[in-house]
Symmetry: C3
Subunit: 133 residues, 3 copies
């Protein structure tokens, strides 16, 4: 099953939890045992999995990535958002999650995060659930 949904981001850099959206899609797919591929079709935003408990974690992650991949004077890309492209290369465009008994097999503290690096924008997320009923 293939699904998509939209995320409206509000800041230049923002981590938005999308676990509930993905969980709903897995449930609607009727797939019991398989995998779920979450794919972000953008070049200045990405997707990853990290703690979804203390809101200071996504806040610290924005700070960490700004520090790891800052704007560099030597960048030439005329849109001026090469640091956003670099963060995208570091975090990556897709994650694959195991589906078991019709649910995402996530750890206790894990959430799925849409990571915006050049917002605010209206973004799209694609989800493919693959496997058996």
């Amino acid at each position: 099953m293939l699904s998509q949904f939209h995320v409206q981001t509000r800041s230049r850099n923002e981590w938005r939890c999308i676990t509930d959206d993905i969980e709903r899609i897995v449930r609607e797919s009727g797939i019991g045992e398989g995998i779920c591929v979450v794919f972000v079709p953008h070049t200045t935003a990405a997707v990853t999995i990290n703690e979804n408990a203390d809101p200071d974690v996504p806040r610290d992650m924005v700070l960490a990535l700004n520090t790891i991949a800052p704007d560099l004077d030597a960048f030439r890309h005329s849109e001026g958002n090469s640091s956003a492209h670099a963060k995208t290369a570091l975090v990556g465009p897709s994650v694959s999650i195991i589906v078991h008994k019709g649910r995402l097999l996530l750890g206790t503290w894990q959430g799925i995060w849409f990571t915006e690096f050049d917002g605010p924008r209206t973004r799209t997320v694609y989800v493919r659930v693959l496997g058996d009923r």
Copy 2:
């Protein structure tokens, strides 16, 4: 087929080779042609693929990641392990490997590494093998 196994890490930061565990699970799955998704259900540990020949490579990788994602004074997360969360975002929670003729299709020098960033802890790894016999 879905499997899991445990890894007991011994240091704060440690790369542990888990290729043999994954290879065994693929063999037991009976899948001949498909893919294998390795997933780490933690938020301060990850999984990747890198050289498994010279032990100085995983040693240098621990050093590289400590340098790339150090503790920052501005971090607020009260557990004090935000750098471990940042390393997890950089390395990622899952890898997908091709299965061919019932074996992992890895390159000559590649091994699969469980990467601990906040050990020592007892950790879990999930493995889904998908495909045809």
Copy 3:
């Protein structure tokens, strides 16, 4: 369907667009709805997805990664290419892309990039397309 092809890189660090190669393999697979796993069987090269429009983007990404993961005096690996191994850990060995109506479901600006960190070399890329006709 499993396929492979070769990439001849020309520089120490180089981003080479391989979208057309992957698109051709997906078409030849006859798979209509599924996923495509692109896997790089090397330990000093990786694969990712990023903008394929302005050539300054891959140029800036080489610069960004050289800055993020430089050579460190404390590295011990005797081949002297630990920074290439570190870049590989950051970018990752595989990407999973959704296949829909027999095509890669990429965003408007996205291309698939083979990222060389220790060239020039002749490299291999493995591709598995999984799903239904």
